[in-house]
Symmetry: D2
Subunit: 265 residues, 4 copies
């Protein structure tokens, strides 16, 4: 059996990120004492030194699948209490399987959170896209936490010029924090920061009195996409230690194109 | 050289649509005396009888590329005056290259149209996704014309319950007509039917006075996604002979999900 | 409070499908005695008669969320043993909430299945996109079951002309069966039919000896996209009662475009 | 008329990138003496200082549309000979319309190039996704040139272990160069660098003898995704001055997931 990967390549260049992407598999998290099963998408990469032709891809897959199947066992209910802990567990396993200097594991999935509707006080389950990356460098381990939240903007400029009438639209904001692995930041708190920065939060279930409350909220809280971005980064800087990136896109109801505001710290 | 395609397959099943898809190439149309170059995406398929293993894919590609390169020549400026004429020209060429009973050519591209903004009367160029299919059956040739237009909805229910305030959002509508190949229907007229059925049309360029006009228009013309669908099919039935399909999606500003209305005739 | 939806619209047109789409929420299935939690995407629609302006969208949302939260309760572990049963439960609930003649519920999610790799006999977890629709007409209830499977094609024509060498590529096939609601068809069996019809199945985890086995399998089993489509429909007709639709796309390694074979019965 | 944008915002945070995105419009380039019309997608952003609430979005749109319509006029055939020149012309116009310290214009479109097939020597038109960004900082103007090319990989490891048989698949590589605005780099040369680094280039049109040549080429030139990335960055460093980023994704024919190699300089 040939191990072509171990050969010296003709062209010698260091590669920073080599691995697999778009791998979907089952995962399980013990979050605040409750078990959650979900089907995230994984990316896992390591670096390749100049003198090696390639990596052993199957060992990366094994690092993920063994960690996941371990997490599925009843006896390890204590094991992984967050997505970043899951990511680090994959890297720890990978360290025994494949030499490397730097490694990254990225996990994309959805988070479900309970919200109360603003007037009827019904429970509405809301879904959020989240992504967590664990990045191991020779001297440190960092993590990247990313949440994407759907909200809305009611234009203050049109409102000022139209006696209280304005254009309103769906907007989507992403908040990303890159920080030390040991920094404690809950994705739920990040979602909270973003969701509270729109003209109004959005809800899956809205009875007429709730719909009225959301409409009133949007009109009493008009915001440019710039205002949303500013409020997110302002709150995030106070709450979360690390490098912060904010991006807001507003799907304008009066245009065919979108409007964007982005900033970082 | 083996012609594996001509062999008799082990399993005998007639296949209705075999060919190539997602092929991008350059095309040229002489539309109302003016030449337009664009890069559409093509799908072209033929049927395969039970006793043939496969088709000669390269002949389908050649039918497209030869028709396109012909269209690029100066001397054939007269040749293709519409996307369906282009599609039929591909089928005519294919008839000489590859036996078949039925053939389809689908062309997806964008159309640019000039609009005048509602107050400042500036020119605003608007882009629309369009798709045209030419379907040759043994006894007839039909075409499918499809346009997708971005507009908006202002909710009449929230407006009635909130003293004129309401939620507004981007909406996207698709109108499809399937008809005899010789039926004369302009994509521009179809776009017109759809665009005039929203709470307001949308524009690429809007100065403040235009923005105000669009805002006022949306509030004076509140519409459910159902109203938009009804108005499109009502107008389309009067203007276009054929089978009509309408689909409207509203990207709700108060929800994370979308709202849909669909009907056909 | 105004019920604008109950008004008579100016334009009278029957709408076939009105409702919500792209709604993600949590669901739970008791499948063969084991509980599975997942986050599917829902579409739910009803028809709107000529004399009604709109539907009460929140009742559709409630039909989904109440069914889902019921399914989450421990005591109803027996309740839903398949996606179609879940879909029908939503419709049953909707019948008490909102008058209609026809209703559709569509659920899109992923299925995880255990496979054994061909040589090392390791367990490999494989993910498949599935979609189930339940369609209630005045006189009958039908269901649509759809599975999408990733496999590959090794071209027999190139193999015949290149002394056993050929081009190979990823291919994706979709099998859809529309049938009576009570017809018993397992998505797992449909996946099996599709996956066994490629040049070879694909696996998440492959050690070198498994990779060799897959390579050998592809070369000993060369197939056009047409062959894959034929084998799927041939097997599906024998196993599943209903209207069958097959579509195979091959992401050609020698072209920038894709190749397609589609047939139905 | 109120100019809400000029107000001082409650929260004071500098925003780095505010503007419009996903704007499609018509553009025209005089490339090597020949006129090309196409429909690119634009993103244009400027920074917003702490003491301003927002930007005047319509001035950004005008900067694009005026530049484009100018480019459409016959008399300015000399004007824009590249996408970056077009981008800079938009920024120059914007400077007169809206104060800012930094500005970015991004243009995404497709490039068509003529290739000769390897055996029959036919002309095959190939399409490539390209993106060009012009980034104006207070002290300098830089540009980012990006090309995306579809090719393939034939696995050398499987080939060594299976007597010349191997798995082959479509692969997609992106090469990005960030450099001084005045650095002369042709997108065509960048495409050339990428396309020549796969196991074989791909072609839209391939007659059987061409297909054979491509198949033979892939087997005589087996490459890991790592090899492709290494070859691209090695060639790019020699040819193009600037910061270089390479990303290659291989759509594995034996897996459901993808394989990735990324590096930068």
């Amino acid at each position: 059996m040939f191990e072509t990967q171990e050969e010296v390549p003709e062209i010698k260049e260091r590669l920073h990120r080599v691995g697999i992407t778009n791998l979907r598999t089952v995962a399980r998290i013990n979050w605040k004492g409750k078990l959650y099963t979900f089907i995230p998408t994984f990316e896992i990469t390591i670096d390749v030194p100049e003198e090696k032709k390639g990596i052993h891809m199957s060992r990366l897959v094994e690092s993920i699948t063994e960690t996941m199947s371990e997490a599925v066992e009843e006896e390890v209910r204590e094991a992984h209490t967050s997505l970043e802990e899951l990511g680090l567990a994959v890297i720890k396993r990978l360290e025994k399987k494949h030499p490397h200097k730097r490694a990254e594991v990225w996990v994309k999935t959805q988070l479900i959170m309970e919200r109360e509707t603003p007037a009827s006080r019904k429970i509405s389950l809301e879904t959020y896209d989240v992504e967590v990356g664990v990045i191991k460098e020779p001297d440190k381990v960092e993590k990247v936490l990313k949440v994407t939240v759907i909200g809305n903007t009611a234009c203050p400029h049109a409102m000022a010029n139209n006696q209280g009438k304005t254009h309103i639209q769906r907007a989507v904001a992403t908040l990303e924090v890159r920080t030390d692995y040991n920094e404690e930041i809950a994705l739920e708190d990040m979602i909270e920061v973003v969701e509270s920065s729109f003209s109004s939060p959005t809800y899956t279930l809205l009875k007429t009195i709730d719909e009225n409350a959301v409409v009133q909220k949007m009109y009493s809280n008009p915001k440019f996409v710039e205002d949303v971005a500013r409020e997110i980064i302002f709150k995030a800087k106070q709450k979360f230690k690390g490098r912060i990136h904010v991006k807001v896109i507003s799907y304008e109801s009066i245009h065919k194109h979108d409007v964007i505001a982005e900033t970082w710290y």
